[in-house]
Amino acid sequence: MVEQLSPLAAVFRPGSHGNFVDGVGVTLSEMAPGSIVQLAAWPGEEKKLIAAITSLTGLKLADGAGAGAASERHTVFGFAPGKFLLTDTAEGLVSAAGVVTPAMGTITDLSHGRTAIRVAGPRSEWVLAKLFAVDFSLVAFPQGSGISTAHHDIFAQIQRSGPDRFDLYVFRSFARSFWKMLCHASDEVGYEVR
């Protein structure tokens, strides 16, 4: 496979930044999964697609809007009716995804098209609430689930991967700009890049 270069490299500065004297509020990192694919079911094929995702990843997906799950290797969540984002730490997921047949739906390789950014820590809800008009409370946004939203008309897909942890998928070409803005938003609470 082609070696991927991070779009964040030019602005990625590991270490503590901002107002961290009283502790680090959030930790920012790039996840860099080997594969990111989007799966879409034809109308009426949603249940079969969910079964195919389970057979591919071993992850059980609840039947509901935005439902998601994660393991050491894979993450998956629904982000629109009949549509799912699926990641794998290994490369080549798109060819392994033959379990999704053309009669069932479509599979689109986004591995080089999205940048995955992890925001973790006690102030992650607070920081993300500055950027997105979305309720990030655990009640409205349960662990494992995902959403589609936008920041200044730029799409973002977000999965809650822990009580204080969110994984953001943004367009690769906007990722550096988004990262810089995320750093500015995190300044106030102190952040660590790692």
Partner: protein
């Protein structure tokens, strides 16, 4: 203003794009009925009250939605996927109908 998307839940109006009056029904593309086309293109009910509208959750799940919004108060009384056929809660009005 919040619109409660049937998939995504309540979201800020900035995530939605207005797609126009939801009362129109397009004549058959092969129709040469000029009055019907004229009504489809130009006639609007412009009610002061409940209004059928089409919105797209453009900054979210991207579904097209049939919304009933009160043009006086912005109160939204119903939202459903536009692809789900059937009249909105308060009933569908004829295209081009004038009081």
């Amino acid at each position: 203003m919040l619109i409660t998307c049937p998939y995504c839940g309540p979201r800020d109006v900035s995530e939605f794009a207005y797609q126009g009056d939801g009362n129109r029904s397009r004549p058959d593309p092969s129709s040469t009925d000029l009055a019907a086309w004229n009504a489809y293109v130009y006639d609007r009910l412009n009610p002061a009250g409940a209004h059928n509208e089409i919105w797209q959750h453009a900054g979210g799940c991207r579904a097209h939605l049939a919304v009933v919004r009160d043009t006086l108060s912005h109160e939204i009384s119903s939202v459903r996927f536009a692809r789900e056929k059937g009249a909105p809660a308060h009933g569908r009005r004829k295209s081009g109908a004038k009081p």
